[in-house]
Symmetry: C2
Subunit: 417 residues, 2 copies
């Protein structure tokens, strides 16, 4: 009520009332501490705090005093909360502005300005037990295939694409990603493949069609499995690709290859050893494995707003943390590739399509949902561009497997596909 009254009391951009002088002082202090980022702030009464130096990548308007103080207390959480409910508005390039903020926070965090320990407690991810995982995955992936179809590529891949040529379209880059994964796994006709976390099933179909392998693909998202089965049937591949609605921990059989694209983020570090054991018992002596996952340079909890509203239970590990999975099972790492900028571009494509489908999405969801998803996509793009997030593809094998290629040149030869 007070906030609304104050909003009404504000008059013009250059005529702030006295009541916000303390807030302005706070903002200047905070901005100086953060190295004076090129961002313009506008308070609820219209009072404007320009960036030092004049240049500005965008304007952040804070609509009320409550939001202002919440942002001071826990910006990682309340920036998202405020943006999605509209009490915070951004003018200018959202990705560029978020990238600026991400770079600042990264520097500030290194300088010890931000209390990461407190954040770790606040943002501890939800446990990924067998039941917890189902809830967490349902939250994000079962909100409707129709929604995802509006802004993903035509094969519905919701993971980092591979832009082997800078001019590639998203469609081409998603196919290139599947090819890159298949080549890294050195698939041969007749091979059996286990896939953990198969999304809408496109990689399994690609492997079966183009590499002549048999795939057992696991996923706990009901909507995705239904969609994938339908597709396998309509493409005549349901004799070679089996989609199983079950947890990766229940994987059975022995395979020539194990692959998991974009699932590790949902596994949680406490379960890496167990995942390692699952892969170990599933992989033949000369088997190859690939894990594709978002990661970090330094251990840090996931953004608490993302954890609360977008990806409950998610955690992006460092390579060191990922090694818990491989070393505990004695696997040998053959190849690690960081595709960070590929994910920035992928997210840029998704955001562009998301904005183009604005009207259709508006018929399905409310404005708060749309604003949340815009922020999530833009914020993720910014996180990859600024170096806050990484994308690791890790290829591994059994320690005694000597059936290894002498070079990785085979990944870069063109084939007819």
């Amino acid at each position: 009520m007070r906030d609304a009254a104050e909003n009404n009391a504000s008059n013009g951009i250059f005529g702030p009332d006295r009541s916000v002088e303390i807030e302005k002082w706070l903002v200047r202090k905070q901005m100086a501490l953060l190295g004076n980022p090129p961002i313009t702030l506008v308070l609820w009464n219209g009072s404007k705090i320009a960036s030092i130096g004049g240049k500005s990548v965008g304007t952040v308007s804070i609509r009320d005093r409550t939001t202002f103080f919440k942002l001071f207390v826990h910006p990682e959480l309340y920036f998202g909360e405020a943006y999605s409910d509209g009490t915070l508005e951004v003018e200018g390039d959202l990705v560029a502005l978020l990238e600026t903020i991400a770079r600042i926070r990264s520097t500030a965090s290194e300088n010890g300005l931000l209390n990461n320990n407190l954040m770790k407690i606040i943002s501890r991810p939800k446990l990924n037990s067998l039941v917890g995982s189902r809830d967490n995955i349902h939250h994000h992936y079962d909100i409707g295939n129709e929604f995802y179809r509006l802004w993903l590529d035509e094969k519905m891949q919701y993971t980092c694409a591979y832009f082997s040529s800078p001019s590639a379209t998203l469609e081409e880059a998603q196919i290139a990603k599947m090819e890159h994964v298949c080549k890294k796994l050195r698939l041969s006709p007749g091979d059996t493949v286990a896939e953990a976390g198969c999304g809408w099933g496109s990689l399994a179909l690609h492997m079966a069609r183009h590499y002549g392998v048999r795939v057992k693909a696991y996923n706990i998202s009901h909507e995705q499995v239904l969609y994938a089965r339908e597709r396998a049937k309509s493409e005549g591949l349901d004799d070679r690709v089996e989609y199983i609605e079950d947890d990766y921990r229940n994987l059975s059989g022995r395979f020539d290859a194990f692959v998991s694209v974009g699932m590790l983020e949902h596994v949680g570090p406490d379960n890496y050893q167990e995942l390692g054991k699952v892969i170990q018992r599933s992989l033949k002596e000369e088997g190859r494995g690939l894990i594709h996952s978002i990661g970090r340079n330094r251990a840090k909890p996931i953004n608490p707003w993302i954890e609360r509203h977008i990806f409950p239970g998610a955690y992006m590990p460092t390579l060191r943390e990922m090694m818990e999975l491989f070393e505990s099972s004695g696997f040998s790492i053959l190849d690690v590739e960081n595709l960070r900028l590929h994910y920035a571009r992928t997210l840029g494509c998704w955001l562009e399509r998301f904005e183009r489908a604005h009207e259709q999405i508006g018929n399905m969801f409310d404005q708060k949902f749309i604003r949340s998803w815009r922020l999530y996509l833009a914020g993720s793009a910014a996180a990859f561009t600024s170096g806050d997030l990484q994308l690791f593809q890790v290829v591994f094998t059994n320690p005694t497997n000597n059936d290894l290629p002498w070079s990785r040149a085979h990944l870069y030869t063109n084939n007819s596909r």
Copy 2:
């Protein structure tokens, strides 16, 4: 004295006296525990213990009872001691036999049959302080350039070569290794490069000649630095390559690239953070780094005989342990490649040349030295073939550097060189 008397008392291979029955029983028990490896044992009295199943990769003869019991107490140490002083002899393919033993030990260690904790205490590496490092490096690298010249490639590279084609010679593969490293570092004319642990200087010369860069190369081996300076002068590159006889911790200046090939093994995990800081302060904003090091799948101390006689202070880290260096400084890992089988082949080439130069080496050193080095080269080849050791090339950069290639295809394009 007692052993010698017993040796004299032995008569014929199939006529053992009663006195070794307990030893034979012990061997059978131990062999069964290790899964009955295909190795034939001959005791000091001629008594032969054939491998179960009949097939044998080689024969190990133990010359006296003292050696026999030492081998039971601490095989990792006393196999080497006994082989080098001739109280243990091997007939058959030494590498194949050692590989068999390595595989057995690896399995036994996983099954908890071997007391690794005890071994860790026994074989704690010597500390690599500034002074300690000099002593440790002097021990191995200053035993004479003439000796190394007899069995290394013509450019004197004492690190894993890169056999990009299976038919490559050692000379070709060592040049290919330097090319591979340079391409990974994306060197451009005019770049400045810091090299830590430069050996006899060949990589620095290669970079300067073929990539037009300026190199500051550090090494604490006096003999190697003298040799490298001489070479730079005779090749007319001493205006572009500076060899500095100093510890990597004293590295000064800022560079476009940092490279270290085969030094991390001598750094020791306690110093990884410090090395990370040295690199951090030395690398420009868009700088690239490469560390090439022997590693392991699982943490384990170095073989105690190797530590005592060949590489004092050495330690082969897992990728996870290496991450201590990168994560503590916030570096972003771009690429990891495992060249394990390349090192097995490199060592095979060295061993072959070593044996060919047997006579010349015999004029320089005594038999004990020759046997030690034969065992070290053969044992290392076996360790890479069996999967006990790995070779990691890690490419990294500053976390905010967005000047990154879209793919690694440039590593696999042929150039005129």
